[in-house]
């Protein structure tokens, strides 16, 4: 007996004395002087974060700023109505995190139909790119290699655009045949192509970056979503949402090279900075799938607690953050809208906690894409050197970053705007007990009452017509049940009519209640409405159309007050309108073929 105990103790001692291969951090002298550095970053609670995760917060209209690896939320940056997706300024070289210069990120607002420029150094919005109308943005993730152009997809209108960041000038392409829903885009790193999934076509569209034009469509699995270009430039990885596969597109041949089964409901993917592994969020199977892009096979799978959606990867490839869409049973209730959650996973294969979730935090809003940046890009503004940093800039090694960008009209080194674009505007919202009235449009006095029933995954009615100038009262009722694929009792339905009426709608309806939104439909046009609160795998496809008909006619994508609404003047106070650039005035004013992207 004693011998066994001795052998066991010896084995235990031998095991515990094995050299740990956890990450080590060598602190510089400068770091050691810093009072709040007390532990290496592989500690459970480091006080200093080596990276920052920016997450487009969706329905809270803000961008969250979260430390990596601590997962502490530092702040929220107000940006608008329904924030979705962004690249950092600099270059797209590398993986999704790109090659930042630390100056800006450009976040798309699906609700207001804008792109908002946020200064990373001040932490405030600086400009609003008012996209031409009708457009209907979803994502704007794609940066050109030279950092001077963005590519955005108009999911709601079947269009794609190229945007010059200097002044907001655009080229807009129609991508028929209808129905067409250009979805998640990414640019090749050599400046040749823009790739974008199109869930109605079950294909990936390929455009050339300059001149900006459609080249071809590549059939992939059903309802493609997350579409990412590899940092090596060789392949594009596409999440086939309804096929449970990852399609690998050969960029040289522009065709699918391989289809890899990855798990049910793949939504988004993140490739590491060397192009070795791809991490895929599988919503239905509640897992992160890890694909080896050299072996072209699934090599690992990590369980996720709750319904993953978007994701991000640390710039040193040590952590992966699964941005989960539901938190059923996790947190103390805080009201009608439950917090979602972010789950940080250790992906360092040599770490003792490899594959494990090491942090899980509640998150406000309904976050969309996240991107991470080393904290070293963000200068210290609390040292009395703010003015100098703006006037003289800062250095990233040999590279001098300057804010004295004379090519940007109205913005110089001495003037930094501090904007807080409106989240909601010119409307009234009230909660009422569940309304069981018949869906459709009725007139009560001088008010057009629109009863909308929302369910997984659609609306009744699908089309709504009101005349221009009508007083509108939308009563939306969630008729969903806590069953089916998601099995979540907290499914909340949303209603946002994108663009001009985005800040005027933004309605949320949990089961058993109705939400009433009232506003005046004072601009004519065709406006797609969509569910802004994630409700399941086909949430994205949950759409309808709100027509505000002009006198003596019917609204359409060709008939409406589009020049007027493109000004986006309700997003900022009148004295701040100078910070809104673009609009229909600059639509199709790029000189394609002479707008170099590299």
């Amino acid at each position: 007996m004693n011998i066994f105990a001795l052998v066991f103790a010896a084995a235990l001692l031998a095991f515990s004395s094995l050299p740990a291969e956890a990450k080590k951090v060598i602190l510089s002298e400068k770091d050691k002087r810093d009072w709040h550095v007390i532990a290496d970053r592989d500690s459970d609670s480091p006080l200093r974060d080596y990276a920052i995760l920016y997450d487009a917060g969706g329905t809270d209209g803000a961008v969250g700023v979260i430390g990596i690896p601590s997962m502490r939320t530092y702040r929220h940056i107000k940006c608008g109505t329904d924030m979705h997706n962004f690249p950092f300024s600099g270059s797209n070289a590398g993986n999704n995190n790109g090659t930042p210069d630390g100056k800006y990120f450009y976040v798309s607002d699906k609700g207001a139909d804008t792109v908002v420029e946020v200064n990373i150094q001040t932490g405030w919005a600086e400009r609003i790119f008012a996209l031409p109308k009708p457009f209907g943005i979803h994502h704007s993730a794609a940066m050109a290699p030279n950092g001077q152009y963005l590519f955005a997809t108009g999911e709601l209108t079947g269009k794609v655009l190229k945007l010059r960041l200097r002044d907001g000038a655009t080229t807009v392409l129609d991508v028929p045949p209808a129905p067409s829903a250009p979805d998640y885009p990414d640019t090749s790193k050599d400046g040749k192509y823009l790739f974008s999934g199109n869930y109605y076509h079950s294909a990936v569209m390929v455009f050339s970056q300059d001149p900006f034009k459609l080249i071809k469509e590549i059939p992939v699995g059903k309802n493609p979503h997350g579409t990412n270009a590899s940092p090596t430039g060789r392949m594009v990885t596409v999440c086939d949402k309804l096929s449970a596969t990852l399609s690998i597109i050969d960029v040289d041949k522009l065709r699918v090279h391989k289809v890899i089964p990855v798990g049910a409901g793949p939504l988004h993917n993140q490739i590491d900075s060397l192009g070795k592994y791809d991490y895929i969020s599988c919503f239905v199977s509640d897992s992160t799938s890890k694909v080896d892009l050299m072996r072209m096979q699934l090599v690992d799978e990590f369980p996720i607690h709750y319904r993953c959606g978007h994701n991000s990867i640390a710039p040193d490839d040590s952590y992966y953050v699964s941005q989960n869409k539901f938190s059923t049973g996790l947190f103390t209730p805080t009201g009608i809208i439950f917090a979602v959650n972010f789950e940080e996973q250790d992906i360092d294969e040599t770490s003792p906690t490899y594959g494990k979730s090491v942090k899980l935090i509640p998150v406000d809003g309904e976050p969309h894409e996240g991107r991470q940046i080393f904290a070293t890009y963000i200068q210290r503004w609390n040292t009395g050197k703010g003015e100098e940093l703006f006037e003289k800039g800062y250095n990233l090694g040999d590279y001098h970053v300057s804010f004295d960008d004379k090519s940007r009209p109205g913005v110089g080194a001495a003037t930094r705007p501090q904007l807080e674009p409106n989240h909601t505007a010119d409307s009234k919202r009230t909660w009422i007990p569940r309304d069981d009235g018949k869906p459709g449009v009725t007139k009560e006095g001088d008010v057009y009452v629109i009863r909308v029933k929302a369910f997984s995954y659609g609306y009744v009615p699908r089309f709504i017509h009101v005349p221009k100038g009508a007083k509108v009262r939308i009563i939306m009722t969630n008729i969903d049940k806590a069953a089916g694929l998601t099995k979540n009792p907290d499914v909340t339905m949303g209603f946002t009519a994108a663009g001009y009426y985005g800040p005027r709608t933004m309605l949320f309806a949990p089961r058993g209640m109705s939400i009433v939104g009232e506003f005046v439909a004072d601009k004519a046009g065709e406006f797609e409405y969509y569910c802004q609160q994630f409700c399941g795998p086909l949430h994205l496809e949950m759409r309808g159309t709100f027509f505000v008909d002009p006198p003596n006619g019917k609204a359409s994508l060709a008939v409406g007050d589009y020049d007027d609404v493109s000004k986006q003047e309700t997003m900022l106070a009148p004295q701040e309108h100078g910070w809104i650039v673009g609009t229909n005035k600059l639509m199709n004013t790029l000189h394609e073929g002479s707008e170099p992207v590299i």
Binding site: A93, G94, M235, K253, D317, E349, D398
Partner: protein, 137 residues
């Protein structure tokens, strides 16, 4: 009988042709090329805003020469500290991100790598196991 034999031979030939004529599955990559937007390797020479890199973890090492882009910078894979180009040394393991334009290979970012990082250890171990970087197995 003759008809049966002829049919058998015909079928056999048809199957053989189908088998041999089937195009081999093209692999996505057979080592690095100068059109790749990322090269991983050791620095073999340094000049005035120029560097050469000999690739690692491939079946056959290849050498590429880069000119630094005007906005190029150097940072460290772990921690993200910035370095000056002059701090780089021959033999450093780096990832070079850039693009080939008009016959000139331009480096937009150089990221110094630590061979003890799990990704590099994995690439090294895979290469030993004949799963080479940028070669599809």
């Amino acid at each position: 009988m003759k008809i049966k034999s002829a049919a058998f031979i015909f079928t056999f030939c048809l199957m053989a042709v189908a088998f041999f004529a089937q195009p081999a599955t093209a692999e996505l990559g057979n080592g690095s090329t100068d059109h790749d937007t990322l090269q991983v390797g050791k620095i073999t020479s340094l000049g005035d805003r120029q560097l050469s890199v000999t690739t690692e973890f491939e079946q056959n090492a290849k050498k590429y020469s880069f000119t630094l882009h005007r906005d190029a910078y150097v940072n460290v894979h772990e921690g993200g500290a910035f370095k000056k180009f002059a701090e780089l040394k021959v033999g450093d393991l780096v990832a070079v991100y850039g693009w080939n334009i008009d016959g000139k290979y331009v480096a937009r970012r150089i990221m110094t790598l630590d061979a003890n990082h799990y990704l590099l250890k994995r690439l090294a171990q895979d290469a030993k196991d004949k799963v080479y970087y940028k070669h599809e197995r």
